[in-house]
């Protein structure tokens, strides 16, 4: 069994989000707590800006929950940079234990699942789970210097500048995390680092199918099955892959990366990065859950577990997908 059930139903009581100017031009613009006009966020480097965004998302989530920081038991967080520096450095601003996790762009779902498990077991009362990413710092680490005049291939995606977090507690809101499915690492041999959607789609299909099978649910049990950052192309591949296995998610599948940007121009296939699902879920989707426009959501965030070293050595891209079921009770 990959799926665990939370019979004590830990609740998402509040969220905090922040996003860059480009992201806020799209659907999340009205829902985020803070829109950045300058993606440096008043800092001297992009890494510091990313750290500050994450820190802001955590603080804002706690504030929105009406809690004191002293009541928080733990922070679970991660990001895309080497040695998850943004998360660790953000954690030094807070006076509670920190659990650093890395699941590339699936970090949000992974940290929600771990938080829910700890709460369900009764070890803790309130946990903050947050993650974020920054276009410029990711570009620097994974690709090229920003000023280099190279062209982006049409399969490529645009790393989201933004961060989002949620306070998950044992009680206090109708929105509950009811189950979680931890994914297996899936590698279908894609080596093109610009085609993350195609690399991650099989992982998403694997986890979603496992979740539906183990919970005994149909795909239409969920109002929405959201993936993290497959992009337009990956999203189409995912629909095809699960269709092959006899599951139809044509009508209720939405990809965060696909919807986050308003104009698909240089973003091509849409957004990517840990911040993508963090911003879209914690603002836009959570808003809809609160207003009960959506009641059952499966958040399946995908991550590509590569590094510049592995792709330099010609390795293919192993991918993972974790899913959490979020329902209004």
């Amino acid at each position: 069994m990959q799926t665990i059930f939370f019979e004590n139903t830990p609740r998402i009581i509040a969220t905090g989000t922040i996003a860059g100017p480009k992201e806020c031009a799209g659907v999340v613009g009205k829902c985020v707590d803070k829109t950045l006009t300058d993606d440096m966020f008043g800092e001297s480097t992009y890494e510091k800006a990313e750290c500050k965004m994450l820190s802001y998302a955590i603080t804002k989530a706690i504030e929105n929950a009406g809690e004191e920081q002293s009541n928080i038991d733990m922070l679970i967080s991660g990001d895309l940079l080497n040695q998850i520096i943004s998360a660790s450095f953000a954690a030094r601003d807070f006076d509670f234990p920190f659990l650093g996790v890395y699941g590339a762009c699936s970090t949000l779902a992974e940290s929600y699942a771990i938080a829910a498990a700890l709460l369900n077991a009764g070890y803790y009362k309130k946990i903050v789970a947050a993650t974020g990413s920054h276009f410029s710092s990711a570009e620097r680490q994974y690709r090229y210097p920003l000023e280099l005049g190279n062209t982006r291939p049409p399969q490529s995606q645009w790393t989201v500048t933004g961060a989002g977090g949620a306070v998950i507690a044992s009680e206090g809101s109708p929105t509950a995390i009811t189950s979680a499915t931890f994914g297996k690492v899936v590698d279908f041999g894609i080596t093109d680092v610009n085609n993350m959607g195609a690399a991650m789609a099989p992982a998403a299909a694997d986890t979603i199918l496992a979740h539906l099978k183990e919970t005994g649910r149909n795909a239409d049990y969920y109002d929405l099955i959201i993936t993290g950052d497959l992009g337009a192309l990956g999203s189409r591949i995912l629909k095809d892959l699960v269709w092959e296995k006899g599951v139809d998610i044509q009508n209720n599948h939405v990809d965060c990366g696909e919807i986050i940007y308003k104009v698909i121009e240089d973003e091509f296939q849409g957004g990517s990065g840990a911040g993508c699902s963090a911003v879209v879920f914690n603002s836009y989707i959570y808003e809809k859950l609160k207003r009960r426009e959506l009641n059952r959501v499966l958040l399946a965030a995908t991550g590509a577990l590569l590094s510049t070293v592995s792709s330099g050595q010609g390795e293919s891209i192993p991918c993972i997908c974790h899913a959490v079921a979020i329902e209004n009770l």
Binding site: S44, T45, R140, Y144, P145, L146, E147, L148, G149, N150, T151, R152, P154, Q155, F188, G189, I190, N195, A198, P202, L233, R236, I237, D266, F268
Partner: protein
């Protein structure tokens, strides 16, 4: 899925994914590369004419002066953050001219300044352009040695 079966499946999947690839716009890309590349060379030709007719340079000095001025322009446009925009429009049209070489040296220098002047800016200055120097020196010296022994 293990062994050979998995390999076959991978191949099928990769072929299937490739069928989704958005079509490359060959004609548009090539036209843009041609126009921008040609334009940069025309600017170079203009400098040649000026240096030749006004200052009276010729031969190796002339081409060195043109290269230096073009490299200056390339790094300046990189500093202003304009060159990457040109690059996105022109593709190879702005990569292949010497200004593209200047861009590939200046962009990491500006980018990695935050990691210090020695191990950041200076050490990473050639992360993109280093291979050009390495293989240029290797190939050039090889040509020289071949001519020496012929």
């Amino acid at each position: 899925m293990t062994g050979k079966n998995r390999e076959n499946y991978n191949k099928n999947y990769i072929a299937y994914v490739n069928s989704f690839d958005p079509p490359t716009q060959h004609f548009k890309n090539c036209l843009r590369a041609f126009l921008v590349g040609g334009l940069i060379c025309c600017i170079g030709q203009f400098m040649r004419e000026i240096f030749e007719k006004v200052i009276g340079l010729n031969g190796d000095e002339l081409s060195a002066a043109v290269s230096i001025l073009l490299i200056f322009l390339g790094t300046l446009l990189t500093g202003f953050g304009v060159y990457d925009r040109i690059g996105r429009y022109a593709g190879a049209g702005s990569i292949v001219p010497i200004t593209g070489f200047a861009n590939s040296v200046a962009s990491p220098a500006i980018e990695f300044k935050t990691e210090g002047l020695v191990y950041g800016m200076a050490a990473k200055m050639f992360i993109v352009a280093g291979p050009i120097i390495v293989y240029g020196v290797l190939a050039g010296t090889a040509v020289g040695l071949i001519y020496l022994f012929l």
